[in-house]
């Protein structure tokens, strides 16, 4: 059985006044139905650009996209980058849907909840407004909006942030999409509400057997919901693997850094949180060699000048695991152990 989503060598570049910005470079991954894949990375690492490319939301005239994105539908495979805009439009909101970071601004301020969710249903289904309203009501109930009969005719500004994100989820799932892309769905919400929204996404996934692509920079969120993780840095996937393997045996120094920067209640020793030194590089004219080497604490352990001269290719680092590092997992663990011993 083929995975539902296959991304092969996806590269997205924007031409700006300062030069060509290579937002993503040779991104390859796949995602099965019922599975949650988290894409993690700093701002500007290419997470959102990748997800927008999958939705076919980039302006083709102003973006330079190469590679392939396959959606393996029941009716056959569709390749997003080469498909007609009208074909993709019919898939959007129907086979693949998206929820965004800021539920405050992602809903139209002038239309009622019913109007907005019904529109999403009516676009992809044969039926009248009455049927759309019934479906909307059903979805609002499903995502846990209290008193949906009353709230269905209210406007977004009458809802709290968490409730608005529930509305967004209801709208995204109204047509039972096979793929749900959640772009930082909890970043703008209160911590207590974050957990509720994550468990709602989990529940909805079980209900509809959806493939979920979760974009985030929050490792805590990843640990809570993801099956697999893709770590992105400077437009490239630097590490891929099952969640437990990556968390316990990271195969890239950047992942080590990300994991080290999580505040932990059980290991608090009164010291400062460890941050990754430096800033991510500019995506215009990336230097040769490894993009992370300037910030890498492991680079001095790589023999020769390899990190500066050779850009590491994505290599197998165990079962279902890949990383772009000249060091092996064993090397990284050994060096980490030596460091903490000091």
């Amino acid at each position: 059985m083929k995975p539902f989503l296959e991304v092969k060598d996806l590269s997205v570049a924007f031409t700006t006044e300062d030069g060509k910005v290579q937002a993503t470079d040779s991104v390859t991954f796949s995602l099965n139905l019922g599975e949650t894949l988290a894409i993690v990375g700093e701002s500007g690492s290419g997470k959102s650009v990748s997800s927008m490319a999958i939705m076919g939301l980039h302006n083709r005239h102003r973006t330079d996209i190469s590679g392939e994105i396959y959606l393996n539908l029941d009716s056959g495979a569709v390749e997003i980058n080469s498909a007609e805009e009208e074909v993709i439009r019919k898939l959007r909101g129907n086979q693949m849907a998206m929820i965004f970071q800021d539920p405050m601004s992602s809903l139209h301020p002038y239309y009622t909840i019913n109007n907005q969710i019904s529109e999403a249903w009516l676009l992809h289904n044969k039926g009248d407004k009455k049927a759309a309203r019934a479906r909307t009501l059903e979805m609002l109930d499903l995502v846990g909006i209290p008193d949906p009969h009353k709230r269905i005719d209210e406007y977004p500004h009458q809802f709290s942030g968490g409730m608005r994100q529930r509305v967004m989820i209801a709208m995204a799932l109204v047509n039972n999409p096979k793929l749900l892309i959640a772009d930082e769905p909890t970043t703008a919400l209160d911590v207590t509400v974050q957990a509720e929204i994550l468990s709602l996404i989990k529940d909805m996934q079980k209900e509809f057997n959806t493939a979920v692509l979760l974009i985030t920079h929050d490792m805590g969120v990843v640990a809570a919901v993801a099956d697999r993780i893709n770590v992105m840095y400077a437009g490239r996937l630097v590490e891929q693997g099952p969640i437990d393997d990556v968390f316990y045996h990271p195969a890239h120094p950047y992942t080590v850094g990300l994991l080290g920067s999580i505040p932990r209640v059980d290991e608090f020793h009164g010291g400062r949180l460890k941050a990754i030194q430096g800033q991510p590089p500019s995506l215009i004219n990336l230097p040769t060699g490894c993009a992370f080497r300037e910030r890498c604490e492991f680079a001095s352990h790589v023999p020769g000048n390899l990190c500066a001269t050779t850009r590491p290719e994505s290599t197998e680092k165990g079962a279902n695991r890949q990383s772009r590092c000249h060091l092996s997992i064993a090397d990284i663990e050994r060096i980490s152990a030596e460091r903490s011993a000091k």
Partner: protein
């Protein structure tokens, strides 16, 4: 909502009331003497005094104002004996240079101003929004550049130059008849004659406004298109056309309603330059003549109040329309 509107209407009355005081004060402080001006060059002191009495200017300013306020509610009598004249309520005074009640003068002039304002408004509103949407939709292409040029020229040329250019061109081409121009033709009995009378004035007035509306529409549509809720609409598969008309335009045009209401309301008080160029005896012409030529206080007060009423009224209409368009400002 009803409570809010009635409250605002009460405020309107209060503002107009205060406005009458201000206009009377300004008039009282002016150095010119209307009794002397309207009497003529060869009047002696006695004749001027008689004239002052006839105009009702021989009593204190405060009493003049009070008579004016009374007149609005009960009407007023002017003159004595055979020359006696009655202005029925709501009387805004008697215009001696015109030998008519102020309300009658306004009633004669207003159809010109109203026709000018409505026609020009329809023209500039439709072309402004249409061009603005086009320019935004085809941003960066030649369509955008042509509209930008139009905005620059239309927006930066003063009305008196633009109006004159249009008038002279139309005259040279025999499209405009200076003798027939300005004679009232009813739009109900002779729509073609009516349009002939006004079309060039409409165009000249609309050009400047439409440039502003094009620019506003273009920038609003472009700004809205980068809003998150537009991205949401695209993500749920809404067609580009529907995104423009349903999701974008409603948000982009709401602020334009404010401009439209205030501009239109302002025009109902008279478009002085355009009326003057195109020989339309509307409120602008009447006010101009009352101020510059006759020093006709009752008429100045009347036209000022009349114009102010529209401005305040359209402020209210704009607020109500905005609440209707944007649920976030709806009054509970």
């Amino acid at each position: 909502m009803l409570k809010y509107v009635s409250k605002r209407l009460a405020y309107t009355v209060l503002i107009l009331f205060l406005l009458t005081i201000v206009v009377y004060l300004i008039f009282g402080l002016l150095p010119a003497d209307p009794a002397k001006i309207s009497c003529g060059v060869h009047c002696n002191a006695i004749q001027v005094a008689g004239n002052r009495h006839r105009l009702g200017l021989d009593i204190p300013l405060w009493d003049q104002w009070w008579h004016f306020i009374q007149g609005i509610f009960v009407g007023r009598n002017y003159g004595e004996g055979a020359a006696a004249f009655h202005c029925p309520a709501p009387a805004l005074g008697y215009s001696f240079p015109n030998n008519e009640c102020v309300t009658t003068v306004i009633a004669h002039a207003f159809p010109y101003t109203l026709s000018l304002a409505i026609g020009a408004f329809i023209l500039w509103f439709t072309t402004g929004i249409g061009l603005g949407v086009l320019a935004a939709r085809f941003r960066g292409t030649w369509i955008d550049k042509v509209t930008t040029a139009f905005v620059l020229i239309g927006g930066s040329m003063p009305t008196f130059i633009l109006g004159l250019l249009i008038y002279i061109s139309a005259f040279m081409l025999h499209w405009i008849d200076p003798i027939a121009q300005g004679v009232w033709v009813s739009p109900w009995t002779d729509p073609v004659g009516f349009i002939k009378n006004f079309i060039f004035a409409w165009i000249s007035l609309a050009l400047a406004f439409s440039a502003i509306y094009t620019r506003l529409t273009r920038s609003n549509v472009i700004e809205t298109s980068s809003e998150d809720f537009i991205r949401t609409a695209r993500a749920k598969g809404v067609t580009p056309r529907r995104i423009l008309f349903k999701h974008n335009l409603r948000t982009s045009l709401a602020p334009l309603i404010t401009n439209a209401g205030l501009d239109f309301g302002g025009l109902l008080g008279g478009a002085i330059i355009t009326e003057n160029i195109f020989q339309l005896p509307g409120l602008g012409e009447v006010s101009l003549k009352a101020v510059l030529q006759d020093f006709d206080l009752p008429l100045i007060v009347g036209t000022t109040l009349f114009a102010a009423t529209f401005i305040i009224l359209f402020n209210l209409i704009v607020d109500v329309a905005y609440a209707y368009l944007d649920p976030r400002v709806r009054i509970k």
